[in-house]
Amino acid sequence: MIKTVVSTALPVDERLLIKKNVINHGNQNKRICIVTGTHDDELEGQYVCFRLNQIIQQNLEKLNGTVEIYPALNPLGIDSITRGIPGFDLDMNRIFPGNPDGTMAEQAAYTLIRDLQGADMVIDIHSSNIFLREIPQVRINVNTADTLVPYAKLLDVDFIWVHEAATVLEATLAHSLNSLDTPTLVVEMGVGMRINHGYGNWLVNGILNLMHTLGIWAEAPEANSISTPVVSAGNRVSFLNADASGVFLTEIKNNMIVEKGEKIGEIVSPLTGEVFQTVEAPTRGLLFTLRAYPIVYQGSLLARIHQF
């Protein structure tokens, strides 16, 4: 059943509508929510929402509980190829838990939190941005790691990054829901403005696995179909930022083990033919983030490596 969570009149003959699909079967009250489309250059979640919808509706007898699918928390953005909310300065994932007396965006954030609160699990799907390519991973604030890492391991991802707490991240959807005792996992995978079907299928498999563990889905995926992720905790992630501005060229693929000193790529000048910087791995480890957009300034993030 399609339900409208937020409905606000726009100036000329249109409403801002944030919708969810509520799929219910069986006699159990457990509820899992799949949310995506906060940043609207991140499209990987669209495929996951579509496939989950298909699989669950075609196998409804296996469902015992409620699945709620929210494909677009920011529908105005996704329809206009805008990462943020058109006409609004702040990042939508920095205004939670929202404000009923604030701007349209803050009111929507407030309503969404009220709607999601109390779910047995929320999966918030992101896909980096147009600049970076990410392997399928779950990101977890260190303060919620004990509770959430066991769930994240069920999601058929390659990597779990337990990161340090930061004040600025307290305004994310995931932090706000976790603070309200609604367990929420943040998935990052792929690259902005593109859909990787393989990554999407893995995550769908993982979500069904998680639902099975929660008792919402009758069928367990094949045991050997679920990846065992690398768990990174305790500041073992190296960030490689550009030392020069130019064009970043790389022959390397994401999701591989790199050796210390191994070449990741180079930053070059198309005007002079110079190589400004040869980018090398500072450590041996798993390359889990790689620059996708070639034009870089000093400081642009090129790669992230989990140190072994």
Binding site: T8, P11, L90, T103, S245, I295, V296, Y297
Partner: protein, 298 residues
């Protein structure tokens, strides 16, 4: 900083006198803060004269623009990745580009006794000229009153606000004030000239310059908490036709604006003042969404 294809990115600062760090003034941090840049340029111009005449104490730094790259191509935020330099403080010199810009600026403007930022707000609108201060526990409202602006407004920071310059300046022991001159785009008009005078009044009263400008009104500032402001909303959407603007005095029940049906042209709703007061904030776009705050009354 070199760019991939454009000219070198430069942030220019104008230092008046070496030695002590008395006051740092920061102008446009976003590409549309033209008013803020203009005001700084006027301050630079007059300080240069005062320096020649020996009428200022050393240690005043003015940075008219932190972001000429965005202003030159009419973008509000950093053009490459749409990040906001004013949400990157205290910065990180090994981090992303705008974190590095923030770090470089913060290093240059740190340790000053007074810090003034000419700021703009995340919601589009016009303001009563005022001083805005983040509540950090270090805020100095008595010194803020020396600007002689109508209001000194305190606000509690949200998590996202801990990356603002004003917040970080205070944490690093600078008395920090964000000055809202009223708008972004315009450089003409009395409000803009008054803002320039206000900065010189502050410098005079803090003993930094031997110069007084009497050509703008000098208010006994009213201290208010942002939460005291009364919000006026439009329950309906449409075309907003404003009768009241920032700085206007309103009486309870007075019609402030109408919302017009965008197809039929009739008045969908009249927006009435819920209280007596001064229009502190006025929405400055002609279109309104449902439940938009179109005014805030002090």
């Amino acid at each position: 900083m070199e760019s991939p294809f454009r000219d070198t990115f430069r942030i220019q600062g104008f230092r008046f006198g070496e030695g002590e760090k008395s006051l740092a003034l920061v102008g446009a941090m976003r590409g549309n803060e033209i008013q803020q840049q203009y005001i700084c340029s006027q301050v630079v111009n007059r300080l240069a004269t005062l320096e020649k005449e020996g009428r200022l104490v050393p240690g005043i730094l003015v940075v008219p623009s932190v972001n000429p790259f965005s202003m030159n191509i009419e973008k509000r935020f950093w053009a490459m990745d749409n990040t906001d330099i004013n949400r990157m403080f205290p910065g990180y010199d090994r981090g992303e580009t705008t974190q590095r810009i923030a770090a470089a600026l913060f290093e240059a403007i740190q340790g000053y006794t007074y810090g003034i930022q000419l700021a703009s707000f995340y919601i589009p609108g016009d303001f009563v000229p005022h001083v805005r201060i983040t509540q950090t526990g270090y805020e100095d409202t008595a010194t803020a009153a020396l600007f002689g602006l109508p209001f000194v407004c305190l606000y509690k920071p949200l998590p996202f606000d801990t990356t603002l310059l004003n917040y970080n300046w205070q944490i690093w022991n600078t008395k920090a004030f964000s000055l809202y001159s009223g708008g972004n785009d315009t450089v003409e008009g009395k409000d803009v000239a008054d803002c320039v005078h206000t900065i010189f009044r502050f410098m005079h009263r803090t003993g930094l310059i031997d110069y007084t400008d009497y050509s703008s009104p000098d208010y006994n500032s009213r201290l208010l908490d942002e939460e005291e402001l009364v919000s006026v909303r439009t329950p309906v959407s449409g075309i907003l036709y404003k009768m009241k603007h920032a700085c206007d005095v309103v009486k309870k029940g007075e019609v402030m604006a109408s919302v017009i049906d965008p197809y039929y042209g009739h008045v969908l709703m009249e927006i009435q003042a819920p209280t007596n007061g001064v229009v502190f904030f006025a929405h400055n776009k002609s279109l309104v969404l449902q439940n938009t705050v179109v005014y805030k009354i002090a």
